[in-house]
Amino acid sequence: MTDRDVVSALLPDGAIDPANDPGLPEAELLSLHRYMVLLRAFDEKAVALQRSGRIGFFVPSTGQEACSIGAGHAVREGDWIFPAYRDHGVGLVRGYPLSSLVGQILGNSSDTTRGRQMPNHWCDASIRLVSVSSPVATQLPHAAGAAYAAKVRGERIAVLTTFGDGGTSTGDFHAAMNFAGVFRLPVVFFCENNRYAISVRVEDQTAAGTLAEKARAYGFSGVRVDGNDVLAVRKVVGEAMERARGGGGPTLVEALTYRLGPHSTSDDPTVYRTGEEVAAWREKDPIRRFAAFLRGRGLLKDLAEEEAAAKEIVRKAVEAAEGAPPVPLSGMFEDVYAEIPWHLVEQRASLLSGKG
């Protein structure tokens, strides 16, 4: 297959293309679905919290659940994840606790990262989910480095890094792809092509025919997948991760999807997108599409019930975390260095004593 073909598994009639069936057990299929629904519920709640001024900012992934959940599900114990700010779904499906997600966006003492960063900038070392940064694509060279370390130690693991269509224009993409190719590193570059970098259309981002074909410039292959088809994403990323673990080197995966919501809560997409375009993509909603398949298999009874349950879980998690006390002021001066140097000791004292 060429890097112009697009892999999909879920057929319009709710059936599945056997060629691209990841062959997951029913329990896993249901869990994929549950995570997608939970992710959507969380995103909607987070946006609501921002609108009501209870958090400062949020970046929703609504419409791209098949990407983050499908890709995250292909990650195994021992693998590393270097995600972009929009991919909390990857962590969620890997076991990053909802309570930590909620704590992070609230930035109070229930935040395991001590209120240090804006919403969407989480991490969890226990599952090798690496700290999210704001500068686009800076995590890609880190992913190559983590893969290099694993490779020289002969570990049979893979590294997943996620980013967007705009990310392919960055120098960090060029550097990471080139190093991954030269050193044949076990890393999978998962690009969620949601057609926009804020307001900039992917057609104005690059003159290349596809993003997947950019991999050739680095001596490895690129694959395009239907990014609203969770099983196709799971299949393609799963194969790429397995190839990486086996010493087959890196892969670039381009997932074709669409951001149904704003870029962030600060963004008004109506200035650069038509309602028709958005409506057309709503028809391709990855959750409804997967639900149809599950229903056909007789695995899913009531979607509304699932959604209500997810909303309730999220509501409880927010309720539990929102009351937590603020992070202590003294923490502001810790973790700059391994030990607190004299100048930060002085600055902390001046602030806490109200003398500075």
Partner: protein, 321 residues
């Protein structure tokens, strides 16, 4: 008029005046900029002069340098000053040195606009104040307005000028700072400071979003009988040292105020210059009220940023020294 509208006004006015002026950056065209600073410009001046670029700051700044060499007057917008760094090499190695290394045969008179500073709950990467990096780089002018009129006048002068300019815009003031702005063409010369408030007891140097903080602190000090003279340099470099020197020689005391981390911040340079030039006049050391030497924290933003209370304490400390 708000400060952001004054920026838009300056861009529109200069683009109408000079067809070689163009604007480029991420989301500056169809969307009118993430802060709406370029709103309406693409509709008015067309996509060839108001250019939506791919997501690459090296490309934006590097292309602007080539455009400037070939007769255009590019005004770059970087979405947040925190995102300039991928282009740091193009700025310090190319833009800043082009005139010098070519003995004036080529110049890179690019104006690089970037929203800067804290106060918007932006955490590490939407809050920083990078002026010291650029002030330390020979060949660059560094400008930061604190009022709408200065924003329009300084940006217009930067666009007409012959040198590369790093034009930092205090994003927290975009919509909170309001004031009279002259219609049509309006120029405020680079390199000239502004005395925001006269006072005989202590000189307070502050720029950008710290200028209003300085004013509140001065109010409070006045009620305690301390008369503070506030100087907003407006152009951080080359600095209007004459204005500061004259003031400190009158007051004998100086406090400098900025958001950026203290160590090697611009406050250090101001302190070094003042003690070199006013040593025998100084009744107290030059004091600094600054951001702390940590990455910019999210939850503790309010405690991180200098406020009128911390500023007032420094003013008092200087008086009581």
């Amino acid at each position: 008029m708000t400060l952001i509208k004054a920026v838009t006004d300056a861009l529109a006015t200069e683009m109408a005046r000079d067809p070689s002026v163009c604007v480029l950056g991420e989301d500056v065209g169809r969307a009118g900029g993430v802060f709406r600073a370029t709103e309406g410009l693409q509709r008015r001046f067309g996509p060839e002069r108001v250019i939506d670029t791919p997501l690459n700051e090296v490309g934006i700044v590097g292309m602007a340098i080539g455009m400037a060499m070939n007769g255009l007057r590019p005004v770059v917008e970087i979405e947040f000053s925190d995102f300039i760094y991928p282009a740091f090499d193009q700025i310090v190695s190319e833009m800043a040195k082009m005139r010098y290394r070519s003995a004036g045969q080529f110049t890179a008179a690019v104006v690089l606009r970037a929203p800067s500073g804290g106060g918007v709950r932006g955490g590490h990467y939407h809050s920083q104040s990078p002026e010291a990096y650029y002030i330390h780089t020979p060949g660059l002018a560094v400008v930061m307005p604190s009022t709408p009129a200065d924003a329009k006048g300084l940006l217009s002068s930067a666009i007409r000028g012959a040198d590369p300019v790093i034009f930092l815009e205090p994003k927290i003031l975009y919509r909170t700072a309001k004031g009279e702005v002259p219609e049509g063409e309006h120029l405020v010369p680079l390199g000239k400071g502004r005395i925001v408030r006269h006072g005989a007891d202590v000189t307070l140097v502050a720029w950008g979003a710290m200028a209003p903080v300085a004013e509140s602190a001065a109010e409070a000090a006045a009620s305690g009988g301390i008369e503070v003279e506030i100087i907003d340099p407006r152009t951080l470099w080359p600095l209007d040292i004459a204005m500061i020197e004259a003031s400190v020689k009158r007051t004998g005391r100086a406090v400098v105020l900025h958001e950026a981390p203290r160590t090697c911040g611009f406050g250090a340079e101001v302190a070094a210059l003042v003690q070199e030039r006013c040593f025998l006049h100084l009744k107290a050391p030059v004091l600094r009220v600054t951001g702390f030497d940590t990455p910019f924290p999210y939850a503790h933003e309010k405690s991180y940023l200098p406020d009128p209370e911390r500023t007032l304490r420094a003013i008092r400390a200087s008086m009581d020294y």
